[in-house]
């Protein structure tokens, strides 16, 4: 084995060892729903500039 091949071999081995299985699955919908509940808390609450007398609201 040449030095070059040896390095390549080591590199390939460490790369292979570093790989983890990539899971494909349904989302964690319970967690995603919990995240969306943050939206519920914001729903209907207009975004305003506290330092301004003229409020900037979520209106078109």
């Amino acid at each position: 084995m040449t030095e070059k091949n040896h390095v390549q071999s080591q590199s390939k081995a460490s790369y292979t060892l570093g790989l983890r299985e990539i899971p494909v699955r349904a989302g964690n919908y319970e967690a995603q729903r919990l995240l969306s509940q943050q939206l519920d808390r914001q729903k209907g609450a207009p975004i305003s500039d506290k330092n301004s007398a003229s409020k900037t609201k979520t209106r078109a």
Binding site: Y15, G18, L19, R20, E21, I22, P23, V24, R25, A26, G27, N28, Y29, A31, Q32, R33, L34, L35, S36, Q38, L39, D40, Q42, K43, T58
Partner: protein, 279 residues
């Protein structure tokens, strides 16, 4: 493999997905990845019903895209007692139940005997039931021998992003932590209920919804595109195969405009094929 993202706001739903199709050897190692798969579909042309697929991209000898277009023909056939949809009375749950019947009972169980134990496919149905003001999202999974009835992902009054497939990048970005956090905690001797409570606390304190229910549909489109592209770049730059990638396909479904493509790819030039309706 895949990332699919739906963004549900009061004005409609955005469907977005990458285009990677990965092929594996017998050791589950990716040996080839193509970046031109189609994963977003209009289930009945122009009607406000769409679908997305993740996991397996085909069943037997047919791609999920081709099978979805087969199913679309049956949905439109008013004389088809098993699959025809009544435009004035259909529901998204009904569409999901019929899609499950078509993919699992009619296609999957006939294509495989016995069914492969390692098969996995998620199919998400999004849209408006007839006469309703807000959309909803249903989904079913085929996993080996099993395919439970479709379950509700988001009711009409639920909003925000829902993602599936290779979830790690978006779990970290939006939920605030990796999905393995629960296992890390239990490995340290923390009991499961406490580990779940810590994860929920993390989401509440570090979560980033990136959306408001009343945000304009164009902004929901922009967020969905950002999420798919972020997951793709996470795969691209990580020390791992690029199993998320290729063009980002996007469609939006709104009450009055129905299903509209926002970004999609064709294998042919539209102006050279004027006889086609480019469905």
């Amino acid at each position: 493999m895949t990332i699919v993202v739906s963004m549900k706001v009061t004005d409609g739903i955005v469907l977005a997905a990458d285009s990677a199709a990965s092929f594996f050897d017998s050791h589950a190692t990716p040996v080839k990845i193509y970046n031109n798969a189609n994963k977003v579909f209009n289930l009945v042309k122009v009607w406000p019903i769409g679908a997305m697929v993740y996991g397996s991209g085909g069943i037997g000898t047919a791609s999920v895209e081709t099978l979805t277009k087969d199913l679309r023909l049956r949905f439109r056939d008013q004389n088809d007692a098993d699959y025809g949809l009544n435009r004035n009375a259909y529901t998204i749950q009904e569409v999901a139940i019929k899609a499950r019947k078509f993919f699992f009972e009619e296609t999957y169980l006939h294509a495989f005997n016995p069914p492969p134990t390692d098969f996995f496919m998620g199919y998400r149905v999004c849209g408006y039931s007839a006469g309703t003001a807000l959309p909803e999202i249903w989904e079913f999974l085929i996993a080996g021998l099993r395919c439970d009835p479709p379950y509700l992902i988001q009711a009409q009054n639920d909003f925000g992003a829902r993602w599936a497939g290779e979830n790690e990048a978006l779990d970290r970005l939006l939920l605030g932590g990796s999905s393995i956090l629960h296992n890390v905690l239990t490995d340290r001797g923390i009991d499961a209920p406490t580990a779940r409570a810590i994860y929920s606390d993390l989401i509440n304190k570090a979560g980033a919804p990136l959306a408001l229910p009343a945000m304009p549909i164009q902004d929901a489109i922009d967020v969905a595109r950002f999420l798919v592209e972020t997951a793709g770049k996470f795969a691209r730059y990580g020390l791992r195969p690029e199993t998320i990638g290729g063009p980002t396909e996007i469609a939006a479904i709104t009450k009055h405009e129905g299903f509209k493509w926002v970004a999609r790819k064709h294998y042919y030039a539209a102006d050279l094929n004027r006889e086609s309706d480019h469905d």
